[in-house]
């Protein structure tokens, strides 16, 4: 059996990489993928603690997170497609309509 600290550390590292990808990349689709990476790190924590405390509640919450992520991806990608129709680009630096 492995120390609990290891999977938690892995989750922290994956979450931080998700943050870096979210801020640094300019492609809206890759930004959404970084978001999925962060969801995944959170799920890993849920499963780790469910294992440590022998409670299945964590698994149920992972299911809820997955459902929310699926809904979020469906709406987000629909928004990207709509933006692409008007701008012909998924570069978030091009989205300057709200700039005063």
């Amino acid at each position: 059996m492995i120390p609990v600290a290891f999977p938690i550390g892995l989750a922290i590292i994956l979450f931080c990489m998700g943050i870096v990808g979210f801020i640094v990349r300019k492609n809206a689709i890759v930004i959404f993928m970084s978001l999925e990476l962060m969801f995944n790190a959170a799920n890993l924590l849920f499963i780790t603690f469910a294992n440590q405390f022998q409670q299945v509640d964590g698994h149920v919450f992972v299911i809820f997170v997955m459902v929310t992520a699926a809904a979020e991806v469906a709406v987000g990608l629909a928004m990207i497609v709509t933006i692409f129709r008007g701008k012909h680009s998924v570069d978030i630096d091009q989205l300057t309509n709200l700039k005063g």
Binding site: F6, V20, E36, H59, A74
Partner: protein, 172 residues
């Protein structure tokens, strides 16, 4: 160094390498494929931690359905526009510095609060089988379950409404 330890280290290296590939690759298709590798590595890790149902749900829902949706949209919009010109010069270094700060903070909290002697437990097959999970989901968490169905319905309607062309264009 037990066999579990070796499995964990291998999966951790795969997951982190895939995450690095996701951030660094210029082509969004490669990013999506790296993300699938990451999901698979974490899915196997769920198996090690005694969550077989969640592991398979991870592979079918995430690596399967959601990533197909991503790849479909990438193909639809035409992949690879390597137009990563920096408009805010200070943004990238600042992002890396701040994230490194969060990372160090998290690892510090981890090292000081969770003892290395606390280990994961041996997976109990009866604990996380689909029957137990379903009982918990449909009795204790029945209200959140109903709310998620509403979220899915709204997301489906929202996606259809968002991608629908305006009535004027349809008439042409």
């Amino acid at each position: 160094m037990t066999i579990n330890m070796l499995i964990f280290l291998f999966l951790a290296v795969v997951a982190i390498a895939a995450a690095v590939g996701l951030i660094l690759s210029r082509n969004p298709v490669y990013s999506a494929l790296y993300l699938i590798v990451n999901f698979l590595a974490v899915g196997v890790f769920y198996l090690v931690l005694g969550a077989p149902f969640i592991a398979l749900a991870q592979i079918t829902v995430y690596a399967g359905a959601i990533m197909v949706l991503f790849l479909f949209v990438i193909m639809l919009l035409g992949a690879a526009k390597p137009n990563e010109i920096e408009t805010l010069k200070w943004q990238r270094p600042l992002a890396i510095v701040l994230t490194a700060a969060i990372l160090l903070e998290g690892l510090y909290a981890l090292i000081t609060r969770i003892s290395i002697t606390v280990t994961t437990t041996t997976p109990d097959a009866a604990l996380a089988d689909p029957k137990t999970l379903a009982q918990l989901l449909y009795y204790k968490y029945s209200l959140p379950f109903e709310i998620t169905s509403l979220i899915l319905l709204i997301a489906a309607i929202g996606a259809v409404v968002l991608t629908k062309k305006p009535a004027k264009e349809e008439a042409k």
